[in-house]
């Protein structure tokens, strides 16, 4: 009995410490599931903006994976296959305007992986979201991110040139101040077009619910607007997010807190910018025309750079909603989500500390001592 026969050793080779059951999600399944849930939005981007945007996506991914390979080669640890570099690259591509010169996302990817991720110790140890850091880095380094890189989506009718080369958000931001009207109404006056699909749905809603919606919301919701390759389709991103929620890969806290808080702030204070006072902001315009949906489901939920306790997640989401709105409306950049997240990343350790509850059996003793 005391001697273990070699036969039995071979027969039951696994001698591990408990637990012997493990939950199904692993680093690999998580990373790949997130990547897969982004595919519909990626496809939509390519259909809508043309083949060149596929080249942008691929360039971002390939350079991120190559950078990870470089790191693996240096550290002699294989992590390339865990899917996290692929995902970072994909997200950088998602955040690029469709006509961006190829070298920009490539630089962004290398920056994200080499500087933001690897330098802090690799997956899970970085305190800043690598994809966003990469995006913001190239945004500040090359001013091309705005200007001529935008493209009119395939399904939007032709319109005045100066407008088709800008996102609705930047048009409203740069020219819509103090106009006192709804954002889409304003865009229409500027000569912005909308699709027949949008016209039909808007008419349908207006007539059946007695509303007076201007055209444009439905185009914005499905993604028929100019914008970054992966950001435009709120619909497909929300579906992807629901898939992740159903798979229990993300929890509802951040997306819900973020979106609700963003909508509330935009509604209450958003009207100030156009001179129409409090409680008149066009919240859904802001929600569907920028990167908030992508940010809420995919960027802010990045595990390494978000808080860990449910309470902390909600605080984080609410603050993100506030800062995104604040930067977007009062800052000098049209897009607030990326900066808001990077800014809030700094406070994650603090939020964790504040929301940590006492270990089991300590709450009582403390009270008793009082």
């Amino acid at each position: 009995m005391e001697k273990k026969s070699s036969e039995s050793l071979e027969k039951y080779p696994v001698i591990e410490v408990s637990p012997h059951l493990k939950a199904t999600s692993t680093t690999f399944t998580i990373m790949w599931a997130v990547s897969i849930s982004l595919i519909p939005a990626a496809l939509w981007g390519v259909i809508s903006f043309g083949w060149y945007s596929l080249v942008v996506l691929l360039a971002s991914i390939i350079s991120a994976v190559a950078a990870e390979g470089l790191v693996n080669w240096g550290t002699k640890r294989l992590t390339i296959h865990d899917g996290s570099a692929f995902l970072t690259g994909l997200l950088i591509g998602f955040n690029m305007p469709p006509e961006i010169p190829i070298y920009i996302p490539v630089i962004g990817s290398f920056f994200a992986i080499l500087v933001v991720k690897a330098a802090f110790g690799g997956l899970g140890s970085n305190w800043m979201n690598p994809a966003l850091a990469g995006r913001v880095f190239v945004f500040f380094s090359f001013n091309q991110m705005g200007g001529s890189c935008w493209k009119k989506p395939r399904f939007l009718p032709e319109m005045v040139d100066s407008i088709s080369s800008a996102t609705p958000l930047s048009v409203v931001k740069s020219q819509g101040a103090e106009c006192g009207i709804n954002s889409f109404e304003f865009l229409k006056q500027m000569g912005y077009s909308h699709s027949a699909f949008d016209a039909k749905l808007t008419d349908f809603f207006n007539s059946s619910f007695g509303l007076t919606l201007p055209n444009g919301y439905f185009d914005a919701f499905v993604g028929n607007i100019p914008g970054c390759i992966g950001e435009v389709s709120a619909l497909l991103l929300i579906l992807g997010g629901i898939f992740l929620l159903a798979k229990k890969i993300i929890t509802w806290h951040i997306p819900v807190a973020y979106i609700v808080s963003f909508l509330l702030f935009s509604w209450i204070f958003g009207g100030l910018q156009t001179g129409s006072g409090y409680f008149s902001g066009d919240a859904f315009f802001h929600l569907f025309t920028g990167g908030v949906i992508l940010a809420a489901f995919y960027m802010a939920t990045d595990m390494a750079t978000s808080p860990v306790y449910p309470k902390g997640l909600i605080i984080y989401g609410v603050l993100l909603g506030f800062f995104t709105f604040f930067i977007r409306v009062f800052g000098s950049f049209p897009e607030g989500a990326s900066l808001a997240i990077l800014f809030m990343n700094m406070f994650v350790p603090m939020i964790n500390k504040l929301t940590k509850s006492k270990p089991f059996g300590y709450v009582k003793t403390k009270k008793e001592a009082k």
Partner: protein, 442 residues
């Protein structure tokens, strides 16, 4: 409708796999080979061996004497002859002295027909000190897995008072259903056992906690309780691991958190497992010292998952054989439940007082997980029922900082496995904590 309770923070919901064996009635197994009886079947000091090779011994004869306050007597499971004394390694890795007994042939032949119902036991005539004394003499320990001597739990220290007697019928570990079957088939006996405990402890409330995946057992207990008028509170609990842990069960039933380092009795609680209560019944009504228990033999790699009533000292291999052997390639054999049990290499290890189950798992259940960097995902923190920070603790232990880890509450970790269960990076957290505790104590 009765309110379904649970323990609040943390916890996980692994698949139950209870269906494999929970409809199989308990079957008595008679084993005619040599019995290997370890002296260490309980928490605390191993018993002192009282026999030597060549001794003729009787069933229930004391063969190992408790060595200290936290220790327990060991009795012979069979009538026969001592043929060897040696050291064996137990599934939990401990090395123990063991007595090898060759059973008497006549005894084995009559074993299955044994019936001794000591109906002249009169509870009213027994003072509670004598009851506790007898429980101690019979070597009864907690049979839910922790194997803490029962008499120690029942001896309420001076100045303390037992207000709540909690009977643990939770059986939160996946796969296991020995307690479930016991509650279905031996409900009457368990209630007789509870009456004995009531006499000893004189508690204000008696609660029986049962998880909601055992609805039939709950119904059975509600019936018996009404019939006998014992006045127990049958408390259905939400299915959540590790509800069967003493601390979580007290929290679920009494709503109180046991302070770190305190004993249940400090809150007025005494918690005993249903199978321990059944053993106490068996002692007083049938005169049996603790030498047998119900063991669930199950898993997806076993032909015929079963619940066996079996004596201590029978090797695992015999139970596996009686359950039809393997149908699939076995990847892992586990002694106990899948969350806290021990993987065993050698199936000649014997059943002990604490063996609740033998699991034979194929590779479709024991998935290989590839360890990656910690993702800082926080899943472990939210799963930990003790409110610890497993990821942080592990990082400290990994870099040899045992002192700071102890300060962060390493000793409050009960190795329940929730953190390792959820960790997507497959970091061997529990393994680290076991190591850290050992190193930290030094």
């Amino acid at each position: 409708m009765i309110k379904v309770k649970s323990f609040g923070r943390g916890g996980v919901h692994p698949s139950g796999y209870k269906k494999l064996a929970n409809s199989k009635s308990i079957k008595r197994l008679v084993y005619s080979g040599n019995y290997i009886v370890p002296m260490s079947q309980h928490l605390g000091a191993p018993a002192q061996c009282l026999v030597s090779v060549g001794d003729e011994i009787k069933e229930y004869q004391l063969i190992g004497e408790a060595a200290g306050f936290i220790s327990a007597n060991v009795h012979s499971p069979v009538t026969g002859k001592v043929v060897g004394l040696r050291q064996i390694s137990l599934p939990n890795g401990a090395v123990s002295n063991a007595v090898e007994i060759e059973p008497d042939k006549d005894f084995i032949d009559n074993m299955s027909s044994q019936q001794n119902d000591n109906s002249d036991f009169n509870l009213d005539e027994m003072p509670s000190e004598i009851l506790i004394e007898k429980i101690k003499a019979a070597g009864i320990v907690g049979m839910g897995g922790a194997t803490f001597p029962a008499n120690v739990k029942l001896s309420v220290p001076k100045g303390k008072n037992c207000t709540d007697l909690i009977i643990n019928g939770v059986e939160c570990e996946p796969f296991l259903c020995a307690d479930h079957r016991l509650m279905l088939e031996k409900g009457d006996q368990i209630f007789k056992g509870i009456e004995i405990l009531k006499k000893i402890l004189n508690p204000d409330n008696i609660s029986i906690g049962i998880e909601n995946n055992k609805k039939d057992a709950i119904a059975n207990f509600i019936n018996i309780n009404a019939e006998k008028g014992v006045g127990c509170n049958i408390q259905p609990l939400k299915v959540k691991y590790p509800q069967g842990d003493e601390k979580q069960l007290i929290k679920a039933i009494m709503g109180k958190e046991l302070p770190s380092g305190a004993l249940p009795i400090d809150l007025g609680a005494v918690v005993l497992n249903v199978s321990t209560v059944h053993a106490i019944y068996d002692l007083f009504y049938n005169g049996k010292a603790l030498v047998e228990r119900v063991v669930t033999v199950t898993g997806d790699a076993i032909a015929n998952p079963s619940n066996f009533l079996v004596r201590v000292g029978v090797p695992y291999s015999f139970l596996i054989e009686q359950a039809g052997g393997f149908v699939d390639e076995v990847k892992k054999i586990v002694s106990g439940g899948p969350m806290m049990g021990f993987a065993v290499l050698d199936t000649s290890v014997p059943i002990t007082k604490g063996s609740g189950g033998i699991l034979c798992l194929s590779k479709s259940i024991v998935r290989d997980k590839h360890t990656t960097n910690c993702l800082s995902c926080g899943r472990c923190l939210n799963a930990c029922p003790m409110g610890l920070s497993p990821a942080m603790l592990y990082k400290l232990i990994d870099s040899g900082k045992y002192g700071p880890a102890m300060k962060m509450g390493l000793m409050d970790c009960k190795e329940c496995g929730c953190c390792s269960y959820v960790c997507p990076a497959a970091i061997p957290l529990v393994q680290g904590f076991k190591l850290g505790k050992r190193m930290g104590r030094k």
